[in-house]
């Protein structure tokens, strides 16, 4: 099989299934026709290269088909109004930033970077900016989101809408589940070791009363999975509850300000985390690069990159939410 057709065959796997056959045929036909009829390709020595580069253009096409599909699902499938979408984006932003923050705090905890922050004021300032950003972000989300969710819950209870109530119950239930898991595993280890993904392996010697490395990997891995699933499930469930409910318009008015504050705070956190990492590279390079303090035995650097990426994604969600909430509140 020719390389350009191989590229199309591989790329067709990422095209949404309903459009896959047509998409593949169209690209194969275009490339084959081009190969047969284009004099420059037939005569030139770079025929294969030209066709190969042309076939690579299909990547954007394939990805755009996905974007279109999600956009349609988002716009039509959910039937959500602008405030509903804005609130949902705020929830996703908060969940992503929460995950990034938890990872960063536990990564840095109990490492030489704490001492470096006491020595270097700039490092400490950026760390505090992250903390202040977190307070503002959660505060803004609580001020705008909690009353709205409270009204949704009250109306769902009044109308006996169990599907909405079930969705609203997911965050506290998953949080309880994670806590039960942590306390049970902690008790099982004789109250010596908490199964946290950041305390599995590293460049330190584990105390003798901790479980074996293999057990730590297993239990820590379960905690990682539970944590990510709990946060993702909570965000998806809350969005589902919001999509199924009429939002109280009087409370929705708070959204504009809260969404802007959330976007600002999360954006600030993203910048502060990036700056903190760059400074940590200058002031405590050895600790950042070689110390295995990150999640699942990774270096602090890898864990910092993961948190920075998540913060960037959270900023994108938050800014989109702020822009959406700034538009006039009409059902579209």
């Amino acid at each position: 099989v020719k390389p350009h057709l191989q590229v199309i065959a591989v790329l067709s796997r990422i095209v949404p299934r309903h459009a896959r056959a047509d998409w593949r045929q169209e690209w194969e036909a275009e490339l084959t026709y081009y190969e047969l009829h284009h004099e420059r390709v037939r005569a030139g020595g770079h025929a294969s290269l030209t066709l190969f580069t042309r076939s690579l253009g299909a990547v954007v096409d394939a990805l755009c088909l996905h974007a279109t599909l999600y956009e349609r699902m988002w716009r039509k499938g959910n039937h959500m109004s602008r405030p509903q979408r804005a609130l949902s984006l705020m929830i996703y932003a908060l969940a992503t930033a929460g995950l990034a923050g938890i990872n960063l705090v536990w990564t840095v905890d109990d490492t030489p970077l704490i001492a470096a922050m006491q020595e270097h004021a700039a490092l400490s300032i950026f760390w505090h900016l992250v903390a202040w950003g977190a307070i503002v972000a959660f505060g803004a989300a609580a001020v705008a989101g909690l009353p709205v969710l409270g009204v949704i819950a009250a109306r769902a209870w009044r109308d006996r809408r169990w599907d909405t109530l079930g969705r609203l119950a997911v965050p506290p239930l998953t949080a309880t589940l994670v806590l039960i898991w942590l306390t049970t595993a902690f008790a099982w280890s004789g109250s010596h070791w908490m199964p946290l993904p950041w305390d599995i392996a590293g460049d330190w010697t584990a105390p003798a009363n901790w479980p074996s490395t293999q057990t730590r990997w297993l239990l820590g891995g379960v905690t990682s999975g539970l944590l990510v699933t709990a946060i993702a499930a909570s965000a998806v469930s809350l969005t589902g509850a919001i999509a199924r409910s009429e939002l109280p318009m009087r409370l929705v008015a708070f959204l504009k300000g809260a969404a802007a504050a959330l976007a600002g705070a999360i954006g600030l956190m993203a910048i502060a985390v990036a700056a903190w990492g760059i400074l940590a590279n200058d002031y405590a390079s050895a600790a950042l690069h070689s110390r295995l303090g990150g999640a699942l035995g990774s270096t602090i650097l890898v864990s910092w990159v993961a948190s920075s990426t998540l913060f960037l994604a959270a900023t994108a969600f938050a800014v989109r939410g702020a822009v959406m909430s700034a538009a006039p509140f009409v059902r579209d």
């Binding site: 045929q25 169209e26 036909a29 275009e30 026709y33 253009g57 096409d61």
Partner: protein
């Protein structure tokens, strides 16, 4: 139905189709736009019903031992949208129909 305004590249693609270029790669050649712009724009125009797509007759493709190509043509709605776009993006209009101010400086004298 919401009124959709065409972007400049979408209008150029629509104009290429109206001028008789009917396949994705032909449009790329005619407009100089990359496939990453042309194909997503074609999908969008088709979704907005400004163009319609159909497959080339089998016997033509069979003769050349290749799969049939997908060709596009401008619909009536698309033709109207193109007309509006040409009014907005005057560079798309034929040179003789442009008003003086939009002619290049050397032509205005």
């Amino acid at each position: 139905m919401t009124r959709s305004y065409l972007s400049f590249s979408a209008a150029v693609i629509l104009q290429a189709l109206a001028s008789g270029y009917r396949y994705g790669f032909d449009i790329m050649e005619a407009t100089g736009l990359p496939s990453g712009t042309v194909y997503p724009a074609l999908r969008r125009l088709e979704r907005q019903r400004f163009i319609s797509a159909s497959w080339e007759p089998h016997h033509i493709a069979q003769r050349e031992l290749r799969p049939p190509r997908r060709y596009y043509e401008v619909t009536t709605v698309g033709g109207k949208a193109l007309g509006e776009a040409v009014k907005r993006y005057r560079l798309l209009a034929p040179p003789h129909s442009r008003v003086g101010a939009l002619r290049p400086a050397h032509e205005r004298g």
